[in-house]
Subunit: 282 residues, 2 copies
């Protein structure tokens, strides 16, 4: 880069002087947080759980099966408090900012891919009633932790019947920020593809629930067919996105609450991770 | 999956009954947070800034140039408080858990790649003294926001001299959790590669600073050469990782505070995002 003007160089020098002198008189610069050294920050549940949650959202946690016991109330508070709504809202805002930067072509091939559960629809009510569930690799194999009571250890049972019964009700509400984003994208001219781990047999109830929640006019609802059974979500979703690319679509954006919605191959130009500290799908 | 035993089916039925009945009598299931509907959560600075920070850490924010004005004190509090240490610690814990799952071969080809600034070394002291800086795509072109005082708008100057002067001091301390992880990985038999956006001309001071902070016995310190000038960090780092793969190394893990440390091509088997709400490098 070009040299800064003389007056700025002088400012830098003046600002640097105390730094240089303090550094030379004090060779080891102390991190301000070193006051807490010795006491591990992981002793504090709320601090630990906030950090655990960040690790989940950044995918540092990788594959995980259960919410740490000490973080169960954190997860519940998060999901039912303002942070979940706020985090979803900011994710939608950044999605919209990206969408606004896309020059929509007239060929109708600018696409946006949405996952369904915990992306467009919220199953929070189900997880509140049944304890926070954990998914074992495949959305068809739902391992639900049923909390016998809030004060006892959960008993774990391997179950998809109860979740499927919930899906059949078709009453999951929209995540408000996602519905707003969805409508804005539609209006901007994006073709909307819904790519879900739900099975083909759940097509009708899923469409019914989406309409109930206020979602309309999607281009295509893609569900797991027979041939996708046993395929990991990340591979199944990558394959389906790849088919969209083959059809000439440009996947400008992809919104999902799982990293397996967003990673793999045929990834979107920009991917947006919605928060979900309740369960993990590989 | 196999059907659950009869007793479990019964439990599910019993647990589902109230859900089904309440759903049928109350067709629209209310999100618990809907109480706050109408009032945007983004009105609350702390809530907004926590969500903004999450968006930065998940890369939802994409390329960003400045900390939102309203989040400047959030960023400062975060960096100087317990959360930064805790988040770094949990990131290191998950890194170590992954490393422990790797079966280290005897060929000496299991590698771990670390970025340097805000990954191994903390420049927090610099940013505290100079205001939180913003990087413009290239680590050589550092746009420093100098806060004339905490109460006035910052004046922005385009500057790398002051950061380079700080680098020349070679007194940046280690991020404690990273130093611990580094030593554990070394002991496990990983070959450590340091891949930094700093320039080749800073090799000596960088090595000096790393030793000062307690880092020893890295396999290689890779810096930007003349031919890398003007290359975006994500491309430069991908190319260098690709060369490691060509040499037969298996990049089992990669730690960095920027998504440009971790994404692109020749990515590691697992990548670990360290927190950094201070600046963004493309």
């Amino acid at each position: 880069m070009a040299s800064p003007p003389l007056s700025l160089s002088l400012s830098i020098f003046l600002l640097l002087s105390p730094l240089i002198s303090s550094a030379s008189s004090q060779p080891f610069i102390r991190l301000p947080t070193e006051a807490t050294k010795g006491k591990s920050t992981v002793d504090d549940d709320d601090l630990y759980c906030s950090s655990w949650h960040l690790a989940v959202e950044t995918n540092n946690a990788g594959s995980w099966k259960t919410i740490p016991t000490r973080c169960r109330s954190y997860a519940q508070d998060y999901m039912t408090g303002q942070r979940y709504m706020s985090d979803s809202e900011i994710a939608a805002n950044f999605s919209l900012a990206h969408a606004s930067s896309v020059e929509i072509a007239r060929d109708g091939k600018d696409a946006w891919v949405f996952d369904v559960d915990e992306t467009l629809l919220s199953n929070l009510k189900y997880y509140e009633d049944h304890g926070f569930g954990i998914l074992d690799g495949d959305v068809n194999h739902v391992l639900i932790k049923i909390l016998i009571s809030n004060n006892t250890e959960p008993s774990e049972i391997f179950d998809d019947d109860s979740f499927n019964a919930w899906v059949d009700l078709a009453v999951a509400p929209a995540i408000p920020a996602s519905l707003k984003l969805y409508n804005e994208l539609k209006q901007m001219g994006f073709k909307i593809f819904l790519l879900t781990g739900r099975s083909e047999s759940q097509r009708n109830v899923t469409a019914k629930n989406l309409l109930f929640a206020g979602y309309t006019d999607w281009e295509r609802l893609i569900l797991r067919g027979h041939s996708d059974e046993g395929t990991k979500a990340i591979a199944y979703k990558s394959e389906r996105r790849s088919e969209l690319l083959d059809e000439g679509y440009r996947i400008q954006g992809n919104s999902g609450d799982q990293w397996s919605d967003l990673q793999g191959f045929a990834v979107a130009i920009r991917s947006f991770k919605l928060p979900n500290p309740m369960y993990y799908i590989a």
